[in-house]
Subunit: 280 residues, 2 copies
């Protein structure tokens, strides 16, 4: 069990002093009001119970208590652990499921989301062929070397200019035709031991490798899209004419706590594929 974080209802006294008060949270009111110089992890100070639970669960995920793909404790058990009602835990889990950090499966339990899932891959790979179904793709690693972070890359990743980074260059092909040229920058610190061989021999999504080998889980990304003209080098690698229009996709990926851990610049040949987006 280890040390169980105690949830203190903040706000004006104990929550919901209804007829159920006898079975209400155990956190003693006295302790809550006096004995807390409080290191205060999250700022708001007045936040709903379920958001506090959500924060605690997120910490457990971040800390690796439950790893990607694993089953987390049942709602009932978590409710007992945190001394709140099952409904409150449920709301916290619902929020985390909305954020795609957890996946609920009726009758089985709640699992930590992983990039192994097909659904997750579609969220991050938006390229769709004009005709036919999205077939498999082939990867080819052109380059993988450690080098000092250029100023712009360092800024995006929150590093100091000159910090160690890992730079990967690869080409993705569909049906034998090169379609995507990716340049990827990773902080050297978090990805010690990543080599070209390691990348090449791994079957499956790169983000899956990151979570299983480096404990790095990408949960969100911001992208900036542009149309650009192919320079000589890119044109050669993508087998298009120099100057041909390419879709430039600059992606910054984040792990828990909005910490950026990957900068990626992709050049897409969109003559037979398009980038799918849904506005909701």
């Amino acid at each position: 069990m280890a040390t169980v974080p105690r949830v203190k209802p903040v706000g004006s006294g104990a929550p919901a002093l209804g007829p159920a008060a006898a079975a209400a949270p155990v956190a003693p009111a006295a302790a809550a009001t006096s004995a807390t110089p409080a290191p205060r992890e999250v700022a708001p100070a007045f936040s709903p119970l379920y958001q506090q639970i959500k924060a605690l669960l997120t910490s457990s995920l971040q800390g690796g208590e439950w790893r990607p793909g694993e089953l987390i404790p049942s709602e009932t058990e978590l409710a007992a652990r945190f001394k709140v009602s099952q409904g409150t835990v449920r709301k916290a889990i619902d929020a985390l499921a909305d954020d795609n950090l957890l996946v609920r499966r009726q009758g089985k339990g709640t699992f930590v989301a992983t990039h192994a899932e097909q659904a997750v891959r579609f969220r991050f790979l938006r390229l769709v062929p004009d005709v036919g179904p999205a077939g498999g793709m082939a990867r080819r690693f052109i380059d993988c070397r450690r080098q000092r972070a250029p100023a712009e890359v360092a800024r995006a990743l929150g590093l100091r200019a000159g910090d160690a980074t890992l730079q990967v260059r690869r080409v993705l092909s569909f049906e034998g035709r090169p379609v995507v040229l990716d340049d990827i920058w990773l902080p050297g610190q978090a990805f010690k031991g990543l080599t070209a061989e390691r990348l090449s021999e791994y079957k499956g999504p790169m983000y899956r490798l990151f979570e299983s080998e480096f404990g790095v889980r990408m949960i969100r990304a911001d992208e900036k899209l542009r149309a650009v003209a192919a320079d000589a080098e890119s044109a050669a690698l993508l087998e298009v004419a120099p100057g041909a229009p390419l879709l430039s996709v600059e992606r910054l990926s984040f792990t828990y706590g909005d910490r950026p851990l990957e900068l990626r610049r992709g050049l897409y040949d969109t003559s037979a594929h398009f980038y799918r987006n849904e506005l909701n």
Copy 2:
């Protein structure tokens, strides 16, 4: 008030026959099982109560019972109307709020979402300047004419080839520079009376005009993005060199019931702006 739709709990008997059964839904079990030849609007037949409520609320929105921007009845009132608990209505409204069809405002009530809201505009206009804040934009209508639907347009909009459509062409400028060239196709049927003058004199988002004047509310859109080379005409209108790379954004917009009501093809000059996207 008018005729109030009666919600029948489907499934095995009345829901939740707990100790609260005395105050349970009034819908008589007998009527529910016998007196319903049932026109059956939605298929599933075995769906949770709150989803049925959601469907009923969606119908009311679609039917115009509550117009964009208006306040809908309170949760308590809807619960009474549908003869279900407030919590069930809440869950239905939560789902509709997640779909961006409704907007909750604490202390005030729940409102029908509208394209007048700033937040909604950001969902549909993703162009961001490289530097500085997103300033205002100027519109210029180049063309607005009725014409028969080309085959491809007809297919996308679910029309017969040759059906009447309205075709609009416009340019959006930021800080005096043309950045977006839009070609828009609308079904003539739904947009009778829309003219170039009407468009020009209207201040504000086009989708706002659609909902206030034509009762057409766009709730969702699919986009296909590509990089293309500027043809002579587009290049002239966007003041770029012929052959310059442009971001092509093909958008199909839907109203209630996934009915497509607009096809739009935009060409974006992304030399000083980018298309923002968030992967969650």
